[in-house]
Symmetry: C2
Subunit: 199 residues, 2 copies
């Protein structure tokens, strides 16, 4: 049974469909929208529509952009010979925040995952091979997440890249800065030992 | 610095302004919207606008409705002589779910709260007095929340209602069904003792 007028129930339904938002939270959000000034609610609605209509994938790196080619791919100051492969646009943002990486990116938009029916053809691997095939690339850094699927995807792609003769690297595994050895899990610690470096 | 295209940052900003939604969650929600089919995103946007434009306050009980008078106030089967006063439309839904109450409601849209600068004039008390003044009402049930502000509001309104000679009641305090005495706080337990009834 509906206890709220139809437009309110409808808005609650839409909020409740968002990931991690339950019925009660959706109710709270819908009532917050009702309490907003009209222009703010309208701005929210148009932000939704605009994001959907204006955002496309960069023809080169597949990252989200409003242009044909994203600002990073279009930049002259970035090194085109190094490509950092990530699974998600949010990972590009995470690496950009370090301000350490001066190369370009390639966004796969997912990882290979037989459990979720994501095959290699479902993510942007072809586009990466085409970029490497163009000849300019010297190094590909695999920066997928260090979990089972991220690892498998990195291995799969590195095997595909072998014939091109480019250097393929992986982000270093080890103990995160600021953590305690005592609380570091065994796998991370053994990887940190394996990857030890001279001081 | 912006790491996502402007329309995405804008959408993240709007989500982050919702209550209880932090920056990271807002990011996750915005990316979920980007992954939706176009028509679903459009439906979400129009649900937002529709809820804002079609919802108004019932002229009688101040509850949310799409009509001039809400279905409960317009109903012939509900008892107009009993008014249940609640602070929020969600409380109407909570009481309706019990299917026990056959009277009508009055929604205050807030409680008196000097700390948050909400004075008696900011909530719908005048409208309640006008309804009681019309003569049909025999009982007013104060169903504000059993916290400091809800109690104070109930006391304040019951004092205003005294000259009208109507019966003013308050929801019973006591131990909630299914709870354990062991874990019930002292105040609730002492209220439950005070309010004990013959079996």
């Amino acid at each position: 049974m509906q206890y709220f007028p139809a437009p309110v129930e409808n808005l609650i339904d839409h909020f409740a469909r968002l990931p991690g938002i339950g019925r009660k939270t959706a109710q709270r959000l819908a009532f917050h929208i009702l309490s907003l000034p009209d222009d703010e609610a309208a701005a929210f609605a148009s932000a939704l529509l605009q994001a959907k209509s204006e955002i496309k994938f960069c023809k080169c790196c597949q990252n989200l952009t409003t242009e044909e080619i994203c600002p990073i791919c279009a930049s002259n100051t970035r090194d085109s010979s190094v490509i950092c492969v990530v699974s998600d646009p949010k990972d590009v943002a995470a690496i950009e925040r370090t301000a350490e990486f001066k190369g370009k990116y390639h966004v796969l938009h997912g990882v290979i995952s037989p459990m979720s029916h994501v095959s290699p053809d479902d993510i942007r691997i072809k586009e990466l091979l085409a970029r490497v095939n163009s000849g300019e690339v010297k190094e590909v850094i695999m920066a997928t997440n260090p979990d089972t699927e991220g690892e498998a995807t990195a291995m799969y792609i590195s095997r595909l890249l072998r014939p091109f003769g480019v250097r393929v690297t992986r982000l270093a595994y080890g103990i995160p800065i600021g953590s305690h050895l005592e609380f570091t899990d065994e796998i991370t610690l053994s990887r940190a030992l394996e990857g030890r470096r001279d001081i």
